[in-house]
Symmetry: C2
Subunit: 345 residues, 2 copies
């Protein structure tokens, strides 16, 4: 990038905020007052308000060697929207707090923010506040998202019942494979000038890792079909970890069929290439941001006709535990191997 | 502290969350679902919802050499409540996101959280969510607070009118002097064993820096007296910076009388001791978390009788600018010298 770089110090904190929030319009009727005061004023008539928050730290959650700042901003927003959809809600507002170290310029932060704004435009969400401060080490992003849902229609993790069907949208493991691919090319590029990363035929994996989408379309479709899940969660830490959250909160067990886990062709090819276990990647990879939900067994006919939804198992009594039914019919206990604090330090 | 220290890695992320959120009760009627799902569910009938957020970074906003973790947690919560009160609202819920580096143990985080919980208990606020993750460098705290206010009763920064009286609660500059004192003792203690810091007669300054309170009592009093400010802001960056926010947002100017700025005796003694300009400290020190607000001139009789409120100046037409009227009657232009990004890097 040869574009002009402006030191943040040259325009100051307020100058930076003015610049990155310039022209932000509000689209939600519930937004009465956004950026520019101590707090934002939101007007919710008789809806339930949803709030969720996520923190992203450089070197832990993202590596700017291969993550473009605009994509990072987009993802930081979308992962919060995904949490709201996972409650059967609609995201309405976000606040964005940034800790910024000295090596970032105004243009860098604008690029980051442009991704956040793009995500907000696409999903119909307002940026209503935030905080910006200096960081001594790397970039810190903290996003809080508010959403709403019709009264008593929020879908918790705790509502699953034995015999309920377990459903998942889209496919799993691709974002994780995308990360492996990016890491491989990063290693291969070390010390080389004009290195051309090899992503041919693997664009889907890269996109799933760098620019995930939240499944608004699935929530809309379920509403249109009159299907209210008994429980729901988004797949951020991996299918295994998420279904165990549902089971723990619902006091149930579950059975997941290995051969029903939806996996994209590119994911399978990449696993083969890297000599990794494909099912492990799909179960524990994480960052898929698909929706995992349960519906009563009686919904089977209705759900099985839906595009982009796969029935992958069923809920059991709690004492049966959580298990994967492998292709040969044996049962393997599920283990949550999602992101762990010890790995990232 | 000789108490048992547990490595976070030994109980994992979810273990840590279970531990620090164990026994949290909800006090607000509007809290339907708090910690433990993708998002919290809040039920606001016909109120306006307020949301504010603050990020605190180690080495930038706090120094753990002299800030106890419990106090830090208390302050992290209270500064957010202060923003909600500054809107004429009441804080109801917070989310707390933490980035934690390896040197922190479970007990450290529990101490931090106990301060947050204490603040929430005292102010009647629920912790409804958050995020916990590994940090590569130091502690990161991001708090978002939701509050409510009667419809159309939120007080913005933008409502001040020429001839309005400018009022401030409590006294100013003490938190800044407390910080100077703590820094002085930190330097004095360097390399010394069993060092005893000298805080005698300066306890108020230390308390204002380490354990500030939000002025719920002032908001309650104004409500009881039927006084609705035309504009309001909390003093976090310093009186000078805050009144200029009000004037900018209200398209006005202002005059502040130097001799009416409320300053505590200990603040004055400390400034003398350190050879610092007392008025500069009161104008630019920051972290006072007092409420700065404007009321119509006609309110003078009513406001002047209130305990803990001082009238310090008045709003003017915009073209007159913002100025301090010194003791000798001359006018000095006000300058915002609040916290600046360039300082902290």
């Amino acid at each position: 990038m040869e574009s002009k770089q402006t030191e943040i110090s040259s325009i100051g904190e307020f100058g930076l905020i003015d610049r990155i929030t310039d022209g932000i319009a509000h689209v939600s009727a519930s937004t009465r007052k956004g950026v520019g005061d101590d707090a934002a004023v939101l007007d919710y008539g008789d809806k339930d308000v949803l709030v969720t928050t996520d923190m992203l730290l450089e070197g832990v959650h993202f590596d700017l060697t291969y993550v473009p700042l605009k994509h990072l901003g987009y993802k930081a927003a979308v992962v919060n929207f995904s949490d709201i959809y996972a409650m059967n809600g609609r995201p309405r507002q976000i606040t964005v707090s940034l800790g910024i170290s000295r090596r970032f310029t105004v243009e860098h932060i604008e690029a980051l923010y442009s991704g956040i704004r793009l995500a907000c435009e696409i999903y119909g969400v307002d940026i209503v506040g935030g905080d910006t401060c200096a960081s001594r080490q790397g970039l810190v992003i903290s996003v809080t998202c508010l959403g709403d849902v019709q009264k008593d229609k929020a879908v918790m993790r705790s509502g699953a019942k034995p015999t309920d069907l377990i459903c998942v949208s889209g496919d799993l493991g691709a974002a994780y494979m995308g990360l492996q691919l990016l890491e491989r090319e990063k290693v291969a590029s070390a010390g080389q000038k004009d290195f051309e990363p090899q992503f041919n035929g693997k664009e889907y994996l890269i996109e799933r890792q760098l620019k995930p989408e939240a499944r608004k379309d699935i929530v809309d479709m379920l509403e249109k079909e009159g299907i209210v899940p008994t429980s729901m969660i988004d797949v951020s830490d991996g299918l295994s970890s998420e279904i165990m959250h549902i089971c723990k909160n619902s006091s149930t067990g579950c059975r997941i069929y290995e051969d029903r886990i939806p996996i994209d062709y590119q994911t399978a090819v990449m696993a083969e290439e890297l000599g990794m276990n494909l099912v492990t990647a799909a179960l524990n990879g994480g960052e898929d941001y698909e929706l995992l939900f349960t519906v009563p067994l009686a919904m089977h006919d209705k759900v099985s006709k839906l595009t982009g939804i796969k029935e992958i198992g069923y809920i059991t009594e709690e004492n049966l535990g959580c298990a994967l039914i492998t292709r040969d019919g044996s049962e393997l206990p599920l283990r949550a191997q999602g992101w762990n604090m010890t790995q990232a330090q």
